[in-house]
């Protein structure tokens, strides 16, 4: 076995293919900016209208408390329920606060005063932000009023400490995930196309009549992209640190070692695909078909805990699922192999099985 000729050829071709090279290094930067800046799952500043029929100091204080949660931007005081409905229907407002005329009166009489928050719940993320903001507002005012009446501190308080990501910034959570998604995207696509390209250009036929062995051919194809994968990881980590201040709490060498299995597994998926397809177009289509479940089911965008059992099984069959746990664990929690050995072992298993499968599937004939 001698992988040098193939490796040399692939490296020369890669160096000459400036476009692909630029794409492979540019994609991480662009995706990072897109995902990091554009995807914000925490919803703040919902445009809100207020229908204050009470018009009392206490009702104004409630509005003020609501504004202070940061979840609501009071954009307008409306005069009627019809006006409020109009603002929400037209999309100018996502929420409306209604304070009935008897609000102050009820408070003074020691009855439970009621206010209403109307939420445009078409977008579940936005509405859940409105809901939690409303509950927060009610509790804060109630506590303050109770304390004012009895002079005693509230009997119970739960303080929530968000560990690992105290600001609850989605970029901190998303950037490590981007490393995994970018690697899947570029490595699977590029390797699935590389063997088919040789088939289309007639060079595969020429290669098959040479004494080159399958393993050398496959490894020669894989190794240059292994290096590219590491460059991509480094680019995303550096940019993530500089632009989004993503913490790097764990060991970088450990992360690079564990990435090896994932990169090899991704490359092998690409190789396996290239043995199944007949043209570069098919290779591209199949790559995107593979990519979709990776983005949706791996836990990159949606938490696995929320998925139905069937989706969780699918998710367990994706190498990215395990790599995401490793990435977030090492970067955000600073944990080591003692907590990640299971994910690492699964990834190594994927790599071995997929490489073996693709070498077995590849035949040195042209039928």
């Amino acid at each position: 076995m001698n992988i040098m000729p193939m490796l040399w050829k692939e490296l020369v071709q890669l160096r000459r293919d400036r476009f692909t090279l630029a794409l492979m290094l540019g994609i991480p930067a662009i995706q990072l900016a897109l995902f990091g800046y554009a995807i914000q799952t925490e919803v703040r500043h919902l445009p809100t209208v207020v229908l204050d029929e009470s018009r009392t100091p206490e009702s104004r204080r409630l509005v003020e408390t609501m504004r202070n949660t940061g979840n609501f931007d009071i954009i307008e005081h409306v005069r009627s329920r019809a006006e409020m409905a109009d603002r929400i229907e037209s999309g100018r407002a996502n929420a409306g606060l209604v304070i009935p005329p008897e609000f102050m009166h009820d408070l003074k009489r020691g009855r439970t005063a009621q206010a209403q928050v109307v939420v445009d719940a078409a977008d579940p993320l936005a509405s859940s932000a409105a809901l939690s903001g409303a509950v927060l507002t009610g509790r804060a005012r109630a506590d303050a009023l109770m304390a004012g009446r009895s002079g005693a501190p509230p009997p119970l308080e739960i303080r929530v400490r968000p560990w690992y990501n105290p600001g609850l910034q989605s970029s901190v959570y998303i950037v490590p995930g981007i490393i995994g998604v970018i690697l899947s995207l570029t490595l699977v696509l590029i390797t699935s196309m590389s063997i088919v390209r040789e088939r289309e250009r007639g060079t595969l036929e020429q290669l098959i009549v040479t004494p080159i062995d399958k393993t050398s051919l496959m490894l020669g194809k894989i190794i240059p992209f292994l290096l590219i994968g590491y460059v991509q990881i480094t680019v995303i980590l550096l940019l993530g640190r500089l632009l989004f201040h993503v913490p790097i709490l764990g060991s970088i060498p450990l992360l690079y070692v564990l990435s090896f299995a994932f990169i090899v597994a991704s490359l092998a998926v690409g190789l396996l695909m290239s043995t199944l397809v007949r043209s570069q177009v098919q290779a591209m289509q199949l790559s995107f078909l593979f990519l979709l479940p990776n983005i949706l089911l791996s836990g990159f965008m949606f938490p696995r805990q929320a998925m139905p059992p069937f989706a969780q099984w699918l998710s367990a069959a994706l190498p990215l699922t395990y790599f995401l746990t490793i990435l977030r664990g090492v970067l955000l929690k600073g944990i080591g192999l003692e907590h990640l050995w299971f994910e690492s072992a699964v990834l190594a298993g994927f790599a071995v099985v997929l490489v073996t499968l693709s070498v077995l599937r590849f035949h040195k004939t042209i039928e």
């Binding site: 193939m6 040399w8 000459r16 007639g202 020429q206 290669l207 009549v209 004494p211 004939t365 039928e367």
Partner: protein, 252 residues
């Protein structure tokens, strides 16, 4: 080895057959090609020439029958066969984004040439085939004739005992074709056995022996003179057309 063949035969095929689904591409082919011979395989499109070459090169497994090439069985000793043959198809199999010298270096390395031996061999090929001035040009920017030269250089980098040429002169100008045949004869003179397919009858007449294929059958074999005498024709082109007519008539 069977009785009809001798140790001087580089290719021995016995009852070689290839079926694609319903289609019988090659049907019971018996063939011997002697060492150092320039052997022409002729026949209309779809007659089974390319399939025959592909089976002899180990690119396709025969459905039935056996063949040995350079003393090795094409099905059981395919890797051994590959080490001893060169193959050039009409698609040339060159890497467009590698230079002339890089293409040569790649193919030479695959056949195990390294270091000074490789360097010397590449220099020799560049010189012999007049490729030296274009050594650094990308293969993709070469014209048809130059690509053909480079493909021949790549296919012979390891000095194979047997060379398969599948329509090597398709789409190449007459001057390049003439030059190409000069090299073919030089290679044959050094003991290389050559199997070539072509649609050009002037090229066919340059072969020492010819075989005609039609719809997968071998319908004639012999030297140019033998074939002409056998069919009472004055040119190979006439033989070709006559044989094809007869064979198609036989079906109807």
């Amino acid at each position: 080895m069977t009785e009809a063949s001798s140790s001087s035969d580089t290719v021995i095929a016995r009852g070689l057959r290839k079926v694609f689904g319903e289609l019988v591409a090659v049907d019971g082919l018996d063939l011997e090609i002697h060492r150092g011979e320039v052997f022409g395989l002729l026949g209309p499109n779809g007659s089974g020439k390319t399939t025959t070459i592909r089976m002899l090169c180990g690119l396709m497994a025969p459905t039935a029958g056996t063949a040995t090439v350079v003393g090795c069985d094409v099905t059981t000793e395919a890797e051994q066969v590959r080490r001893n043959i060169g193959y050039m198809s009409q698609r040339f199999g060159l890497y467009d984004d590698l230079s002339v010298a890089e293409n040569l270096r790649f193919y030479a390395s695959i056949y195990g040439l390294a270091g000074q031996r490789r360097k010397d061999r590449i220099a020799e090929l560049l010189r012999d085939l007049g490729l030296a001035p274009r050594a650094d040009q990308l293969a993709g920017t070469l014209s048809g004739g130059w690509k053909q030269r480079l493909a021949l250089a790549c296919a012979t980098a390891h000095r194979p005992a047997m060379l398969f040429l599948d329509e090597p002169t398709a789409g190449v100008d007459p001057a390049s074709r003439r030059l190409f045949w000069q090299w073919i004869y030089e290679l044959a003179a050094t003991g290389t056995t050559i199997l070539v397919t072509t649609h050009y009858m002037d090229e066919a007449e340059r072969c020492q022996r010819l075989a005609f294929l039609s719809r997968g059958h071998l319908i004639a074999i012999g030297t140019v003179a033998e074939v002409l005498a056998q069919f009472h024709q004055s040119s190979i082109e006439d033989v070709f057309i006559e044989l094809q007519r007869q064979d198609e008539g036989a079906v109807v």
